[in-house]
């Protein structure tokens, strides 16, 4: 059984159809990259997977470990092992980073029939992951993402991922707005989480991130459809020729879909 199976997914927002029949299969251990120009539907796909209800699925199905993902609420999907690193992480004043992350971890542990972790148990785990992301623990005493720089917010997303250890991580433009040092740290964090049991879907506009997080498969999303799929070299080709090159091809049948 595949970890994720998306079949003929159609999604509308308001009046507009954003995704027009997506097929995608992701197996455990694989890293897939979804690339595409602005407005192609990349973020919509990421948000639908995380079960945001502003998006309306009109057709198609998504199975996560064989279970109907479209029947799940966001928290259920998370507890089943799905994680979305947000393109724009939300600032929430008044909720502390550490408290939030421990609450989330405990909600998920509870779902899996594990004991909740108290603050004393949680701290060593948390410290270790902070070190991995080279984050200052002073930040963690602050409210969730409040007053964080763009790079700190993105690192905080990966920190959360490292603590929650999902089966499937979706990274939505995690590279955007990062300087090269931050990008290296984030990529190292992500790479440390690669494992035969875990899959990742890396959504990005630019090829740059893929120098650091090398994907097994690359898919090109244009105007709500996957117009091309291939290996990591496809990303380089895109970088060189631009998205216009694929748009030109949209009417042709797409070859091997991963």
């Amino acid at each position: 059984m595949s970890l994720l199976e998306i079949r003929n997914l159609h999604v509308t927002v308001g009046e507009n159809e954003i995704l027009k029949g997506i097929d995608l299969t992701v197996n455990a251990g694989e890293v897939h990259s979804i690339m595409g120009p602005n407005g192609s539907g990349k973020s919509t796909l990421a948000q639908v997977l995380a079960r945001r209800d502003a998006y309306h699925v009109t057709e198609g199905s998504i199975l996560f470990e064989g279970k109907d993902l479209l029947e799940m609420k966001p928290e259920e999907a998370a507890c089943e092992g799905l994680f979305l690193a947000f393109q724009y992480p939300v600032e929430i004043p008044g909720i502390g980073n550490t408290y939030f992350l421990r609450s989330a971890l405990n909600a998920q542990r509870k779902h899996r029939g594990l004991d909740e972790m108290d603050a004393m148990d949680f701290l060593p785990l948390f410290r270790e992951k902070l070190k991995l992301l080279e984050m200052d623990d002073k930040l963690m005493n602050r409210s969730l993402n409040e007053g964080f720089s763009g790079g700190e917010k993105k690192r905080n997303e990966i920190l959360q991922m490292a603590v929650l250890e999902p089966k499937l991580a979706i990274l939505d433009e995690t590279d955007s707005g990062l300087d090269i040092d931050a990008l290296r740290i984030v990529a190292a964090g992500v790479n440390s989480l690669r494992s035969p049991e875990r899959a990742m879907v890396v959504v990005t506009h630019y090829q740059r991130l893929l120098n650091y997080i090398v994907p097994d498969f690359v898919h090109v999303l244009v105007d709500g459809r996957i117009v091309r799929s291939g290996g990591k070299d496809l990303a380089l080709e895109l970088e060189e020729k631009g998205y216009g090159w694929t748009e030109h091809d949209t009417r042709q049948p797409v070859g091997a879909r991963a």
């Binding site: 502003a54 609420k73 928290e75 994680f83 939300v90 909600a107 959360q160």
Partner: protein, 456 residues
């Protein structure tokens, strides 16, 4: 306005009360009561035509015939104790209940007593301050309270004495046949360079009958005194509760008023500080959380009467169901009060389409070198924030609760006293469970049960 029948009924009640009232033999006190009652008869209850009462209709109070609440004996109040207080005074139906109170072991220079006893034992001390500040001319509820001065708390802190732990005043009303009223009257005198914190907590025990609590507190803070006042309203929904806190601040005094309105059907909270000495600082911090058909009115009247004073108002409201909230922040800067720095902020979350907030700043500035700012916001629970929390595995119910708690904690965190802050945080957390906005949307019974367990 009051009808002739209503006034006759009030006169009868007042005459009966005056026969046995504490210190009625003291000419000054008798005069104080009689003048206040006469003033109440002249004005009657306010109406919504009165600018100060535009958003709050008290007709339900005006047309109800209240009799003074009866003495009642309660069997066990152990669960009402809070840890870490310097003293606890319990009032049951407006009367001091010595058996449930704890006033021993206070440091030298701190006096805590029932006002009734103090009037009888040391009238001269009481006379010096009682009724000197509360405005019976402008405010009919204040006049009514003054006419019915009977019992309440008396707190005196001598010059230079610092009391760290708060003094806890608990006002309980019991179920009775027919509508009843109490007029708690508190006098808090903190002499120069002293430090004190007082918590007033209004609650109901037993079933619900119509009660009207009309309380007035005069807080006198001397030079360089640091005083904190906490008000908690958590009576049942058939309660009318009108509160007036009148603060008189001396030079460089630093006073904070914190109010938390959770219960009560119709609640009006008046906070009226007068910054009478140079360099005074006043913080007025409030949280109000209404649901059902609750009406929660916060009325501030901040008077800057001396130069170089600062006042800060922060009020957060969470309104659900058909609840109606009011923030009316009046700031008056007198001519002498140059270099005044006054600020007010009111933030509101409306959780339902039928909830309503009226927010009104009112600045009257007679000095020319001042800084006054005000701001108000009205919003809903941020959907982005909700989704973010849920996407990490936190249930929708829990996520809503976290977000509302975070909003409420902006106010809770301003409370200096750890004992008061933790008490309030506990009450707010419990109260959130009864807020429809978190229950109606997606919460399952099982989840709710679990949260009930957690907050105890």
């Amino acid at each position: 306005m009051a009808t002739v029948e209503q006034l006759e009924s009030w006169l009868e009640t007042f005459t009966e009360f005056a026969k046995n009232a504490a210190g009625q033999k003291l000419p000054w006190l008798r005069q104080l009561r009689e003048d206040a009652f006469a003033r109440f008869c002249e004005t009657g209850f306010p109406t919504t035509r009165d600018e100060d009462w535009r958003f709050t209709n008290v007709a339900a109070i005006a047309r109800t015939a209240f009799r003074p609440a009866s003495p009642a004996k309660l069997t066990d109040l152990a669960s009402w104790r809070i840890e870490g207080v310097a003293a606890q005074l319990v009032f049951v139906n407006g009367r001091f209940a010595r058996e449930w109170s704890q006033i021993d072991g206070l440091p030298k220079g701190v006096t805590v007593a029932s006002l009734r006893e103090r009037i009888e034992q040391r009238p001269a001390e009481v006379e010096e301050h009682l009724g000197r500040y509360a405005d019976t001319q402008r405010d009919p509820f204040c006049a009514l309270n003054t006419a019915f001065i009977g019992d309440g708390a008396y707190v005196h802190v001598a010059r230079g004495v610092v009391l760290d732990a708060p003094i806890y005043l608990l006002y309980l009303s019991t179920q009775e046949d027919g509508p009843t009223m109490t007029h708690p009257r508190n006098l808090i005198v903190a002499e120069d360079q002293s430090q004190v914190a007082v918590i007033e907590d209004y609650a109901s025990v037993g079933g619900e009958s119509v009660v009207f609590s009309n309380a007035v507190t005069e807080l006198i803070a001397g030079e360089s005194t640091v005083a904190q006042h906490y008000l908690i309203e958590r009576e049942h929904l058939k309660a009318f509760n009108v509160q007036t806190l009148r603060i008189q601040q001396g030079r460089s005094a630093n006073v904070a008023s914190h109010s938390v309105l959770l219960g009560g059907g119709l609640v009006r909270n008046n906070v009226h500080p007068v910054l009478a000495g140079e360099g005074g600082e006043c913080l007025i911090n409030g949280l109000f959380m209404g649901t059902g058909r609750q009406h929660l009115d916060n009325y501030m009247h901040v008077e800057h009467a001396a130069p170089h004073c600062g006042s800060r108002q922060f009020y957060n409201g969470i309104l659900d169901g058909h609840a109606h909230g009011v923030f009316h922040g009046r700031i008056v800067v007198h001519k002498a009060a140059q270099k005044t720095d006054a600020k007010q902020t009111n933030r509101n979350l409306l959780l339902s389409d039928d909830a309503q907030i009226d927010t009104k700043p009112q600045l009257e500035i007679y000095a020319d070198d001042v800084k006054c700012t005000h701001g108000a916001t009205i919003g809903q629970i941020e959907e982005n924030a909700l989704f973010y929390l849920q996407s990490r595995g936190i249930s929708e119910l829990e996520a809503r609760k976290l977000l509302l708690m975070a909003f409420a904690e902006e106010c809770v965190d301003r409370m200096h006293s750890t004992v008061a802050r933790e008490h309030v945080a506990r009450l707010v957390s419990q109260h959130l469970l009864f807020t429809e906005g978190i229950m109606s949307k997606g919460g399952t019974g099982r989840e709710l049960e679990r949260i009930v367990e957690e907050v105890g």
